[in-house]
Amino acid sequence: MTGAAVHVAELEKVFDVPEREGGLRAAAKGLVRRRTREVRAVDGVSFGIEPGEIVGFLGPNGAGKTTTLKMLSGLLYPTGGEARVLGHVPSKREKAFLRRITLVMGNRNQLQWDLPALDSFELNRAIYRIPREAFVPTRDELIELLEVGDLVRKPVRQLSLGERMKVEIVGSLLHQPQVLFLDEPTIGLDVTMQKRIRSFVAEYNRRHGATVLLTSHYMADVQALCKRVIVIHHGSILFDGPLAGLADQFAAWKTIGVALENGQIDLGRYGEVLHRDGDWVTLRVPKAETSLVAARLLAEQSVLDLTIEEPPIEDVIELVFAQERAP
């Protein structure tokens, strides 16, 4: 794993979280004796990411995704285990490391709200020591790619969420980082804006060979960008492999969509009817029986059209978490 852009081995982060019951008595008691609970936010996580790879980092809220990204960015010290990014230990905060990474958090901002983004870009130029002859073309290229030419002169607080996110991304990439940690970069954005940012990330990866670790609750982001996904829940990794393999491993069924001449026919004997829309019926069938059921449908019914699909990725992810919760 020495050539990996990101190398994580048995990484752990434990927080002591204060807690108490509600009410005056408990509050008074808490003054004398503070009760804390140990929360294992990240619990022995291991993975590696090759240079140029785009990996989806999936999990429900509180799964440990952001904590992991913060440890990889040097913003949090791990409690145990090892993390290396481009050969550097993030917590050491070496400048050669910090100049080669970026962290974009959809619900945070690095640009000053009261200033036009262009002023904050200047600060980044100074801090990241970007020579002006490199800074200007990079800035202009990013502005052009994300179509924010008329936005970067306005104070950031006057921008909409989507506009702000785009200029945040420009600010994060001015130093042309080799590793991008993207934490929900499309959160709260409309579909068009999400698509724009997805295609931009793909383009940046193609042009610069950058390594990307992406967290997102929007499966469209993951499907569009990531061949590989890592699923984390309660601080532990549940799955690490190809996106397609997720359905293979966790979903024991496929869906068959079938358009019939007479859509009112009961298809219950072929599989579980998930959905009926006019003459179009969606069936859930065991994966091993898919081809057999399809053949039977074609032979026994007047079929106008038929599709076989993997289950929607959202359903698979839900299934992964449900299986993890099961005793």
Partner: protein, 277 residues
Amino acid sequence: MSTLGTTLRSELVGAGGVVERNYYLTKRYIWWDLAWFIWTVANTLTIVFIAKGIEAQGGTLDVNRVATSLLIGAVVWAYLGVLFEFLMETVAWERWEGTIEYTFMAPLSRSMHLAGMGVFSVLYGLLRAIFLFTVCIWFFDLSVPDAQFMAALVVLAIASISFLGIGMMTSVLPLISPEKGTQLGWIAQGTLLVVSGVYYPVDVLPTWMQWLAKISPATYALEAARAAILDGQGLSTMWDEIWPLLIIGVVSIPLGLWIFARGERYAKKHGKLKRSG
């Protein structure tokens, strides 16, 4: 040597970036700054009026001298307030803006980051102090014929090194306590106000407080500023005030950086580098 020079230059460029950003932000809110300046003027006038009030109540005093002495105290105090506020905001304001994680992830050494904040606060504070002093002198028509203004400014600049060191120590408080750290930072400022003879000679303090006055850089800064403005003393006669300021400065800056580094380590260990919590 050239590598050292390049590194130093590179670091200074980063600190310069922080100064530049603060300039942009101050410019953005210049009218609010003006409003705040008017409040400071009103506050200072109130303090200087005390001298007039004592005279009006039958007290015998050199009103011009006492009023100028109070004015110097109020101006130095206001200057100190600016320095502390900027350094406290290094963390508190970034947290409020939601930029704190990015700032602490940037490839800028903490010393240069704090130096950038400090240099801007000194420049801004000095400019403000000059305006404040000028407005109040004009308002009360105070006479300072022998004043050595340049000497007073130089002493204030030397004292700023110590003030920045103490400011760095207190700026760590919002880092380790997002909820109450800023308010706790005022403790240092308040303590300096009590023991440093801002509005009265330190001789009137209890003995144990006079010991605290000896380690407060504000004590020496005020004594020297009053000597320069009221008595027309030059720098050559102020060595007794300058050397303690230099010593406190030499100690407080590295100590401030060390304490800040410890605070940053604590914050990264306990997950305090975020907007809330």
